[in-house]
Subunit: 293 residues, 2 copies
């Protein structure tokens, strides 16, 4: 039986933190939720929707007496928040987060919460959405979704187990890996596709007749470039935060494109078929494994 949280504090009260709160409330695993944020309208909406019980603008005051603090802001704001809350955390308070890069967040824990590392459980719930804000929070967001925890060497088994059990109570499937592995995996299957899609769009825009080209773009283009419409500031931050893993994979994409260009220039039909076939087989197998996506 998972121990219930008396006081949960959300630093940042958007989709990710809000849905975490709603799921824990439904599971009766939390008594009081305090939401901290800079946007008053969003906090008011969060109270109306019962995502939080109490709103606050002051992280330092809010975390006093908390059992669990969830950092749900963009990673770029987490360091300043950690610095603010550090002197006010109870000795037993667990700190976790929803940041989508983990080596940099682990560094922030080390820098700003050096005395609390045994209670820190870096995490990454994989549940992106185009929506944001407290009003986008839903009870079932984490049902069947993956959550990756990347514990620090100092994180105690007890802290880790609590965060794991809370996510499981939200319906999530919890994985553990080190932050380096995490960042490599997400560079490969999330960050780099975004960047390749941005680069592709800019290649189209560099054409003299780009407007005519875009006029004839169909469903293949639509799907391939959907992620190219993502938020620039968010993706600049992710890109710079996960620089080394991303650079390695982007260079590997250049190598692959160069190999493909060579095959086409040689008119090497057999090798070209094999090249496409390898990609196509792997993509089809992935889709089947995920029930025909």
């Amino acid at each position: 039986m998972t121990q219930a949280i008396r006081k949960l504090v959300l630093l940042g009260t958007g989709l990710i933190a809000g849905s975490f709160s709603l799921a824990l409330k439904r599971a009766r695993l939390v008594q009081e939720v305090v939401g901290v944020g800079r946007n008053a309208a969003n906090l008011t909406r969060a109270i109306e929707l019962r995502v939080i019980d109490v709103a606050s603008h002051d992280p330092a005051q809010a975390v006093q007496g908390a059992d669990l603090v969830f950092l749900g802001t963009p990673v770029g704001q987490m360091g300043a928040l950690m610095a603010q809350i550090a002197p006010h955390l109870s000795a037993h308070c667990i700190v976790t987060d929803g940041g989508s890069t983990k080596q940099d967040v682990c560094d922030l824990y080390r820098q700003y919460l050096p005395l609390q590392l045994s209670n820190c459980v870096p995490g990454h719930p994989i549940a992106g959405s185009d929506l944001s804000g407290a009003s986008a929070a839903t009870y079932g967001l984490y049902e069947g979704r993956r959550v990756v925890l990347t514990p620090l060497p100092e994180t105690t088994a007890q802290s880790l187990a609590l965060v794991r059990e809370l996510w499981q109570a939200c319906g999530a499937i919890v994985y553990e890996m080190d932050a380096l592995t995490h960042d490599g995996v997400f560079a490969a299957v999330s960050h780099v596709p975004h960047l390749v899609s941005f680069a592709y769009m800019n290649a189209v825009l560099a054409k003299d007749n780009s407007a005519q080209c875009l006029d004839f773009a169909g469903t293949g283009f639509r799907d391939f470039t959907r992620i190219a419409g993502s938020h620039p500031d968010m993706w600049r931050d992710i890109t710079l935060a996960n620089q080394s893993a991303i650079l390695a994979d982007l260079k590997s994409n250049v190598t692959q494109l160069q190999a493909l260009i060579d095959l086409i220039e040689q008119g090497n039909a057999n090798e070209l078929t094999a090249y496409i076939n390898q990609a196509s087989q792997a993509r089809s197998a992935w889709g089947k494994k995920r029930s025909n996506q």
Copy 2:
């Protein structure tokens, strides 16, 4: 009033040709449809579904007395078919096709039907689907879809007008451009996205932990790589058929990726934001123009 076709012959009786036939039948613009194909089961199914009225294995015999011949096979089979039918076409018979590359198909018309060029109307209906075969044919496939016609200098206004009106009767929006422009446009927004997606998949597969990476791939990956699951033979043919336009655009993608790599290596946050912003704005504008795709 569009002149009705007494005898339409489909060379290749799959989704594209079959849906053309169904739409013309519904518009009462065709009296008899003969379907030619190598797959007996598919032809039987085409008759059952009233996609065609008569099945044949012999292109030369089938086209006798035809008013319109539609080449609906992969481009790689079109040359041999043209050679077979050339001596048997009536003087008034219009020949058109559904090939997705056009410079190479125009060359085939010149090579195999040099005496009938005034009646030849190369075309490209933009209505891809994962499905294939006569049983995938539907009445409404071309409703609101684009069809590009790339007339030869020899094509008469009358031949062009007839094919244009038939496609319009299918509900399609008809455009005209020369074959070179067509191939450039579709390299940019269809062929190259497929190839970049293949290259990306192969970059993931080249990683030591590719299985682990694919395990954490989410909706961004799903959409970005959907076209990577496309048919290898079909895409080898398209790639080799449209080599020069494709090579130019692939090289432009390498240039863009290299520029992006440089920005990341420099940690140039402002330029990186501007780079992503340009792509993101353009993609969002495209999506809005197409009613939020």
